[in-house]
Structure formats: structure tokens, C-alpha cells
Subunit: 199 residues, 2 copies
């Protein structure tokens, strides 16, 4: 009998982390992005995966729909990037493969700029806005993880997506970028694996 | 309590389908690609998802490691493209996020050219070869599904991937392409949903 399913789930620290951080009560975009960077930090501190976090918040209620962290090594699949984890959980929890269906209006917060796979996952997800903290050059220079061949002008491609609705891309403050960079550095300094496939 | 995991599993017809098709005994690349197109056809005929199939075979033993079909609508996640389903199952069944680790040498067969997300998923998967039946223009013209902003020269990008090892991309015969096109047409003719996010 061939294997025929796979599952990706958040680490055990996630539920108490949410009780501690109250993500449904974050009043600003900066606070929601800071929460997302904190997810990445907790993932590094607990050794539960790579230095990346993602979180999907409703643009109307500002409540958290779903979060993700990088779980590539513990869940043994390269699909388990933070953005994809949050998208999969968000869509299955709502029971819709398109987060924009029925007037859905969600922002994906990312502790770092999406890689080529996550850029593609965002494309089909129905997410309407993306907000990032660290830049691709931060990821690649501070950790040695690669972003892959993300198209030149990827933000513009999302903004001008047609015939699909536009996806807006924004960046957090320099302070939040520096915060996210400190998580990347902490991961690298910990000696944890940099696991680009086949490298 | 926020939702915190997601699961993607092959449809119930998959186990009997494997017993019927004997994928571990396919002696040629053409037979393995034909099996992959047959996966996509069965998925359409049973109404269990979109008209796409994928299968990962070992290049040494020629045995099937894992297969995928498009399960976006039944599993309510846009991550459930055939290629990603097969990659997730393959990696978790082996317990390694990099299919090339430990000398692993696998080919991903695709009933149709990968979209932007699956191109990115292949990039990190550790797969060493990709073989496709239908072309992007077949998918877009026959069904109305989009491929997204797959980079110009994507085959070359994989072939010249650096510093990661090269990924070879090949195409099946015109007959297999036509076979895959017939599945795309059958899906469109069935009136089943063309579910590009937000369209």
C-alpha cells in the first residue's frame, strides 16, 4: 500500500503562545506584523523549525484566521514554509480554497519576503494583501537560505494581476525589519540546519 | 482555539487504481507518464478534483514513491495541486524533506506543465527530473485554468539551477500530450468548476 496523505500542523507551543499574545486584539498593522515576527522567533527559540513566520488576519475584523511557521525539518516536507502552512490551515478552517470567496478580505503577514513557492501559493490563495518584514537579501545574506527565482518585479506582478483581482504588497517599518533580521541571525548563530534541497 | 493543522489525502479510488495499474511494473518513461495522465483522467471521471495528475518514481528501481491529483475543491485548499500533493506525500513517506538526500534520485511526472506554485515546490523538493505531457497553452486554452507568472525559460532555470543541483525537464510524446489534452477537454466539457482564485 502506497502512502496517500500528508499532514502539517503547528507546534505544541502555538496554542499557549496565542493565549499569551492575544492576536485577535492587535489594533495596528505594525502590531500584527510584530506578532508574525514573534512567531518566527518562538519557532527558533523552541527549535521547532526554520526562522520564518506567517499570519493571516481578516481586514474587516482584524482577527487572526491562521498562522504558520516554517516546519520543513520536523514535518519532513519542503512544502512546510510558513506562508504555505498558514494558507493551508486558513483555507481548510474556512472550508474554502479561495480566501476571497464570499467577500473574504485577508492580509498575509510574513516575517520575511516569500520565496518562489510561496509567491506562487499566494497567487492562488485568494489573499488580497501581503505585508513583509525582512527582505530577500536579509534572508540570503544572514542565513544562507535561498529565495529561488522569484520573478523580477514580483510585487508589481501581484499588484497588476489580471484577470484576477490585484494583491497589494507592503513592507513593515525599518524597526520591524531589524527585528526580523535578528531572528534570522539568531537561527544562523544557533547552528541549526540551512536545508536548501540538494545543496 | 485557532485551527492549527491541515491534511491532504488521495481519494478513495486511489488504492484500487494502483492495484489495477501496477505502477511498480512500468518499464518505460512513456508508460510512467501514461499512468500519470490516467491518474488525471480518473480524477475527472470520479469528480474528485481538477484534471491534473502527478507521480514520483525512483530513477533506479522505477517504482512509484507517491502520486497526486488535483484536490483543490474537495480538500478546500489551493495548495492541493497534483504536483504538491505528490511531493508532500513522497517526502513524508520517506521521512525526508529533500528527496535527493542520501542519494535519492526521483522523477516527477506531470500530466500538465507545473504552474508557478508547483514550479517553486519542485525547486525545493529535491526532485532531479521532471517529465510533462500537456503544455501550459493546452491548460489555458482548453480549460481556462491559469498557470500564473511562470518565469520565461523555466526549464532552463531548473537545468541551470545553481548552487543547487540541476533539474532536468523533459516532455512526453505528442500522443501522450494529446491524451492529456483529452482529459483537460473532458473536464471542461463536464461543466466542473474552473476555480482560479478570485476570478
Amino acid at each position: 500500500m502506497k502512502a496517500c496523505s500528508f499532514t502539517i500542523g503547528m507546534p505544541e507551543w502555538y496554542a499557549p503562545f496565542c493565549r499569551e499574545q492575544n492576536p485577535d486584539d492587535l489594533r495596528s498593522e505594525a502590531e500584527r506584523l510584530a506578532f508574525t515576527v514573534e512567531l518566527s522567533r518562538r519557532n527558533v527559540e523552541t527549535g521547532s523549525g526554520g526562522p520564518f513566520g506567517a499570519a493571516i488576519f481578516c481586514n474587516h475584523t482584524h482577527k487572526l484566521l491562521a498562522a504558520g511557521v516554517n516546519l520543513v525539518t520536523p514535518h519532513t516536507t519542503s512544502l512546510a514554509h510558513a506562508e504555505c502552512v498558514s494558507i493551508g490551515i486558513a483555507q481548510q478552517s474556512l472550508g474554502q480554497h479561495d480566501l476571497s470567496a464570499g467577500g473574504g478580505d485577508y492580509t498575509l503577514y510574513c516575517s520575511a519576503q516569500p520565496c518562489i513557492m510561496c509567491f506562487g501559493a499566494i497567487w492562488w490563495s485568494g489573499i488580497r494583501r501581503v505585508v513583509c518584514a525582512a527582505r530577500a537579501e536579509d534572508v540570503e545574506s544572514l542565513t544562507g537560505f535561498f529565495e529561488g527565482p522569484v520573478p523580477q518585479g514580483w510585487e508589481q506582478l501581484l499588484a497588476e494581476r489580471s484577470p484576477l483581482p490585484a494583491v497589494e504588497v507592503r513592507w513593515g517599518s525599518p524597526a520591524l525589519r531589524e527585528n526580523a533580521r535578528s531572528v534570522l541571525k539568531a537561527y544562523k548563530d544557533s547552528g541549526a540546519p540551512i536545508y536548501n534541497a540538494g545543496a
